[in-house]
Amino acid sequence: MSRSTITIDPVTRIEGHAKITIQIDENGHVEDARFHVTQLRGFEKFCEGRPFLEMPSLTARTCGICPVSHLIAAAKACDGILAVTIPRPASMLRQVLNLAQLVQSHALSFFYLSLPDFLLGMDEDPKVRNLFGILAKFPDVARDGVRLRQFGQSVIEELAGKRIHPSWVVPGGVNEPLTESRRDAILSRIPEALAIVRRALERGKRVLEDHREEIRTFANFPSLFMGLVDDRGLLEHTDGKLRIVDAHGKIIGENLDSTRYREFIAEANEGDSFLKSPYYRPLGYPAGIYRVGPLARMNIVDGCGTPLADQEWAEFRDLERGAVLSSFHYHYARLIEILYGVERMEQLLLQRDILSKHVRAQANVNNAEGIGIAEAPRGTLIHHYRVNEDGLVEWANLIIATGHNNLAMNRGILQAARHFISGRTLTEGALNRVEAVIRAFDPCLSCSTHASDQMPLHVSVVNQAGEILDQKIRG
């Protein structure tokens, strides 16, 4: 048997465009598997020369699903350029906005993109293995997903005026205070959201029982984990300091100053992907592999800080003795974060000064450099700008949450491919499991909001002479 390559292009039910190649050796065994991000955005380059005040809205255009994350990281970087501490109410409002996005994005990932695999089965026909399949068989579950996502989006709209690409978050704070009626409108929707997420958690935990093989083989390996924590070590998505823990759950980096991120994060460029591969600098490449996102956040914190989420977190951490290592548990962690998000939003909205009119600090350019770090739904997002004395951007570096997970995703698909694929014949279920590893990370390959079940998938096994040995086309 000759060596061959299996290409999965595009990877479906993820956000953005990517493909997977799987190398098969002469004996029919998986030799290597690679995840390639095939879209190039070039934001870092075309931001150059623009006034820094444009950066939140400009970089938010990277994505239609998580524009809020970019708004917040960019605004924080710009706060640094202004050299201001934003008013407390503005900080809390940004937190609520960020959590609203977390809820809607996680709801999208779990209900729309991943639940079809869990409820309908990994081996189900892809024609029905999608949200519409869920709608036909489990209408209540589909409704929960739609309602939960709608809740998150509606909170964004109440706060920022529109659901996608609002311009409410500005350098120095936000540009309008929250009104009492809008605050009350959000609060009135919280009980339903809470009920939905509790139902989802119950269902999610049952799903775990049925997926022991996936738990064992979906990017389940030791790595570092990184994310923000607040000053008490609790879950924090908007402010806070970086913490890094190892596979045993031991803290190896604490109170890491965001302005010095380059001392502990380095980026490698690999020729076959437009996605850079960051790693923990002290351990080198590729030993410094780390993961970010919901799983990482659950692994690094000392607790969530809200009552219901704390109970769930304690149960989650009981899964393993050190850090929870299987990337399949990203799904579980995501649900706990939704619960936390809804609870925490309520806590913040009940703060006395949340309706304060003091929501913006005004200043001119006072620093030539600004770094903003926030937790996006998919993990730590870093925006770093340098400006000239007139406030025009001279250089920008954006480390996107999905990028941090690049090395882990690659290692993860190799692990799953070795377990589920052998020989020349492709089974739909095996390929879907390799894709599902990527889906567990919920990568946002920036910008694309294409409904993935409408995307065609073309997989072929090709030998070195270019002959097609087997192929499957769907879509």
């Binding site: 006034p51 444009e54 311009s167």
Partner: protein, 240 residues
């Protein structure tokens, strides 16, 4: 015998109207509630007929004429709206959009831009001519204001208001055709201009986000032009 401007009678869109002989078609149309789209024109500044959006048809004249600079004549029959005029106005807008880098989504004037309003009015969802993507630098050297050539449509409102109202004549045009751009003083950074008084009139008459106040983020720049007709009248020594 009393002498003064004579009165002319004409029709605009079949509506009989009377006008002083020194009035333009645009003025008399507006007085009679007939809308003609404009972009370079601004009440209070000398009209120049630059943008050609106010083109109207006059019976007996083959080519359309610019309403802002064409005086009324006895018996004129003016049409302000026709398929041909709409086509010309759309083409003017398309050329303006293609010539520079107008990206509304990240613009300070998004939601408060004359060019954007007109594009929406004419349903301009895409261009039939290719974008030019010129490379223009932003001049943010002024302590209070920013000039972004990428968003400039060369309407010269800034040039005129600075010259005619403020009396500073800081602004001017430089270059020809596609290379034309507005400059301050003798083509030096705005922040080092010796003549700029920092009054901000140019910023507020600018129809797009080309001139904006510093500190304004996306969608935050709103232009106030109410001052202009009053200032004009005051300059002429008339009571408001």
């Amino acid at each position: 015998m009393i002498t003064g401007p004579r009165i002319k009678t004409l029709t605009i869109d079949d509506k009989p109207v009377g006008a002083r002989e020194d009035e333009t078609i645009l003025t008399i149309a507006r007085e009679n509630g007939i809308r003609i789209p404009t972009l370079c024109h601004l009440e209070g500044l000398t009209p120049i007929g630059g943008c050609r959006l106010c083109l109207v048809e006059v019976k007996g004249i083959a080519r359309p004429v610019a309403a802002c600079v064409t005086s009324v004549q006895e018996g004129m029959e003016v049409t302000t709206d026709s398929p041909r005029l709409t086509q010309y106005r759309r083409m003017v807008l398309e050329l303006l959009f293609s010539e520079r880098n107008h990206v509304c989504s990240v613009c300070v004037s998004n939601g408060g831009c004359d060019l954007q309003d007109l594009a929406q009015e004419f349903g301009l969802t895409h261009l039939t001519v290719p974008y030019q993507y010129p490379r223009h630098k932003v001049d943010a050297s002024h302590p209070w204001f920013t000039l972004d050539h990428n968003r400039c449509i060369l309407c010269t409102r800034c040039v005129r208001v600075c010259d005619e109202i403020e009396g500073a004549h800081t602004w001017d045009l430089f270059g020809r055709g596609m290379q034309a751009r507005v400059i301050t003083d003798l083509n030096q950074p705005w922040g080092s201009s010796q003549t700029c008084t920092g009054c901000g009139k140019c910023v507020h008459v600018c129809p797009t986000g080309a001139l904006s106040e510093k500190g304004k983020s996306v969608r935050e720049m709103r232009k106030s032009r109410e001052f202009l007709p009053y200032l004009r009248l005051m300059r002429q020594g008339r009571q408001v």
